[in-house]
């Protein structure tokens, strides 16, 4: 690795499909997966004479997102045409926003509870609305030189969110995307399904190098075609290495060559140059004459903000404070989404032990969900029932290992914790019984007793196994402490 030799500079452009019923400028369905060319009308087919009419919900979802990303919302915004020819863009222009976007100048805070990077405020340049293009498919099977065009997607509402080049590692880029996706999901503004194209990421990457002549920036490369966050991470890492090699060879600086676009090949795990078109950058933006501009009052913006609800960052902070759990735990729970947070909070409240509840959610509940590919709302054990078990563990009625057996039984049988514990003969061992057992074993093992008296506490381990054989219900932690305490008095 050559990390010390350069700094990676990353900016991300994210396209998010907004969760509307209909397209941005016509009332065709946005439902994914329909047969080709069955969700079109004169407007999204760009039939001569057709005109766009703006979807109110799309604009509202855009406002909501902008508020959540701390973006400034100007009182006036307008539509512009971005002109270029492509067969999946039947009008020959995309309706987008150019110089007066609906929001600009915001930020997103990213942190890593594992401490792999310092907390960072990633600037967001702008978020604007635009329409999606259709789909072109190359017909390789037929061996013909044709592309096939499906216009179902044409006109689907997108929010383009453009970050500042503020990220410095593939890990930070991934964290930014994860947090962004989480916010969008909490807001309910998008389903963020990358496989269905509801969330798409392009990355702008270059390097800053220290040279004897001072700090130098390499040419910016835009990476496309990354279809998972993992792919984004890998593509950026690959690209950084590649750009460093190119720099060593050519010494090309930013501005020496035109901005290059490269596609990520997930199979080969490399980026490849995309075909370069000389005049492709002249989009001839101009105000869309077919659409009216939009004004938003300060009161309307305040109302949107008031209705946002709690965002992931705020929930994490609250869980930490309210349930006394570490930042790492709050992060894991919140990153699972709102329903997991709800599940956790009910469990924590009913069991009366926030940290223990957190452990059970992270280690057991999430594991089972993953193994069984379930959503949390379909989890077989209700929070009330799981709380009974957690409460038993907290009250030392049962040790952790046996509690897991009870949990497994509850999962399959649908029985309650007390029922299962009763069947398994689990009951709390009372203190005098435990004291007797302790004394008995210490007396039978003078070597252990001697070690304990010298302060070698690990020696007690040998007794726990024997104790468990005599009474499986003992709590190992309590037993251990009792042995230590008692040895001092013997």
């Amino acid at each position: 690795m050559s990390e010390s030799l350069y700094e990676i500079v990353i900016g991300l452009e994210v396209h998010v499909q907004l969760a509307t019923q209909t397209k941005l400028f016509c009332r065709c369905s946005t439902q994914y997966g329909a047969p080709p060319n069955t969700q079109t009308c004169p407007v999204c087919l760009a039939m001569p004479g057709s005109l766009p009419v703006m979807n109110r919900t799309a604009f509202q979802l855009g406002l909501k997102t902008a508020c959540a990303l701390n973006l400034q919302i100007p009182n006036f915004t307008k539509w512009d045409r971005k002109n270029y020819y492509y067969p999946d863009l039947p009008k020959g222009y995309q309706i987008s926003q150019y110089d007066l976007p609906m929001s600009q100048d915001g930020f997103l805070l990213i942190t890593d509870p594992k401490g792999q990077f310092e907390p960072r405020k990633v600037g967001i340049i702008r978020a604007h609305l635009e329409e999606d293009a259709g789909k072109s498919m190359h017909d390789e099977a037929a061996g013909k030189a044709d592309s096939r065009i499906d216009l179902n997607r044409t006109g689907t509402p997108l929010l383009e969110i453009v970050s500042e080049p503020d990220m410095r590692s593939p890990l930070e880029a991934k964290a930014y995307l994860t947090e962004l996706k989480l916010i969008l999901e909490y807001l309910g503004v998008s389903d963020c399904n990358m496989q269905e194209g509801s969330l798409r990421v392009d990355a702008n990457v270059n390097l800053h190098l220290q040279t004897p002549e001072g700090k130098v920036a390499t040419p910016i490369v835009e990476i496309k075609n990354m279809n998972s966050f993992r792919a984004v991470e890998r593509a950026i890492a690959f690209e950084a290495e590649r750009q460093y090699e190119v720099w060593l060879e050519t010494k090309q600086k930013i501005g020496d060559v035109a901005k290059q676009t490269r596609g990520w090949d997930d199979q080969a795990q490399v980026t490849r140059a995309q075909r370069y078109k000389e005049e492709s950058s002249d989009y001839r933006y101009f105000p869309e004459p077919d659409l009216a501009p939009v004004t938003t009052t300060d009161e309307e913006i305040a109302a949107v903000k008031a209705e946002l609800g709690e965002l992931p960052r705020q929930i994490r902070d609250r869980l930490e404070a309210q349930y006394k759990i570490p930042a790492y735990d709050a992060d894991v729970i919140v990153n699972q989404g709102q329903t997991t947070v709800n599940y956790y909070e009910t469990l924590a409240k009913n069991s009366g032990d926030g940290k223990l509840a957190s452990n059970w959610v992270q280690q057991e509940v999430l594991r089972v969900l993953k193994e069984r590919s379930l959503e949390i709302d379909a989890f077989p054990i209700s929070t009330e029932r799981l709380a009974e078990l957690v409460k038993a563990v907290a009250g030392k009625e049962i040790d952790g290992t046996r509690a897991k057996d009870v949990f497994a039984e509850m999962l399959d049988s649908g029985k309650s914790a007390p029922e299962v514990m009763k069947e398994m003969g689990i009951e709390k061992v009372d203190d005098s019984e435990l004291e007797n057992l302790c004394r008995e074993l210490l007396e039978a093992n003078p070597k252990v007793l001697a070690d304990l008296k010298e302060g070698t506490h690990k020696a007690v381990g040998a007794l726990i196994g024997q104790a468990k054989k005599k009474n499986p219900n003992i709590d190992p932690g309590t037993f251990r402490q009792m042995c230590i305490d008692m040895s001092a008095k013997m």
Binding site: G49, P90, S147, Y285, F286
Partner: protein, 513 residues
Amino acid sequence: MSLIHASAAQLLTQLESGEITSVELTKACLAQIDVADKQVGAFLKVMSESALEQAESVDTRRKKGEKLGRLAGVPVAIKDLLCTKGETTTCASKMLENFVPPYDATVIAKLKAADAVLIGKTNMDEFAMGGSTENSALGVTRNPWDLKCVPGGSSGGAAACLAASMAPLSIGTDTGGSIRQPASFCGVVGLKPTYGVVSRFGLIAFASSLDQIGPMARTAEDAAILLEAIAGYDPHDSTSANVKTPAYSQSVKQPLKGLRLGVVKEHFGDGLDSEVEQATREAINVYKSLGATVTDVSLPHSKYGIAVYYIIAPSEASSNLARFDGAHYGHRTNEAAMLEQLAQERAALEAAGDEVGLAKLDTSLVRMYRQSRAEGFGPEVKRRIMLGTYTLSAGYYDAYYLKALKVRRLIRQDYDAAFKDVDLVIGPTAPTPSFAAGTKTDDPLSMYLGDLYTVTANLAGIGGISIPCGFSKAGLPIGLQLQGPPLAEERLLQAAHMFQTATDWHQRRPELS
């Protein structure tokens, strides 16, 4: 008066009273088309069959005593750039020669709802770009008053079919004068309403911020009747005016008391034909005799109208016409021949070792676009697409497009100031009467200058009307233009009707052999 010369107002009365039937009227119009259109060429398509069916259906429903629409049984001609479901809609272009829209323009839907008889599609300059209808790729239209002369344009067929008594009503569109100038050249009435009064949904766009559909007729009263049928708010057009449609057909007959007219000084300058000037001044005197007060007004920035227009209109057009690329509808070049040609070009470049040339060679997709558009569009359309692409391109936007948008506001402000003192402004519609075909086709700029008095209304978004006010010595009609503040269509129509009660220019008909 024979059916074909009668006004729509008269025809509606006769239809209602049962004196005539729609089938009789439609047959009379079709017969006149049969005779006259061989010389005039106003129609690209005569919809005889469907028109007669529609007429019959109206007659039947009338007999049954059903409630009918406000244009029930009256033939209306349609400029061939309004999408008509199931009927080819061509824009007089090879590009759309075989294009059949799957939907009706709002205006077409309204005409159908009004039980009008759609009699045919009229010729025009290709994509409404031109002032003589000579830019049509699909037909030649001549002026019924002199077959050597042009009918004006771009709504040339729409105006000519009225003058030649082939239909009592027709629909035109006006982006820089395309209703008013042909109305002037053909001696008929043409109204360009305030932007937004008539829905543009289904109108094949030339310049979206300037285009407006309007009524054309032989009398102001008929124009009012037709406007009432097609105007109104349309949720499918975001630029549609959300206002209640006045009862134009009722108010048109009420004379205006104390009408204040402003004579536009700048419309009487260099380039104005002396016969046109004289007719216009006489028309102003007619208004004085009707009790109007007349003062001079100034529209100081109107001289920049053509320059502003020939930046904004081509810029919007270059984008609006991008959809005509042979991919989803419209003309596509012969692909086999195109690929063959491309292969030859590549071979030649390879043989010459021309690396730069090879790198620049079109892909087959790009060549499909370029070749299809080169074949599908005529020279004027290409010129405007090129011009608009240039004025919007990187580095030129501020100097041309943005500058034009700013001067556009100054033009609007001139009007706002003028309308503080007067109700309407008055002047000639066009600097000259019609001219002989072929005389201006090689000099686009001189053709553009013919729009001098009309374009500013489009730029400002206000309404304007042209009405016949005399004839040149050569026997060609001359048009008088009135322009009003936003949404003053009632006032424009009333003023036009007043004039027609005092004059008979609008009653004259050309003699076709």
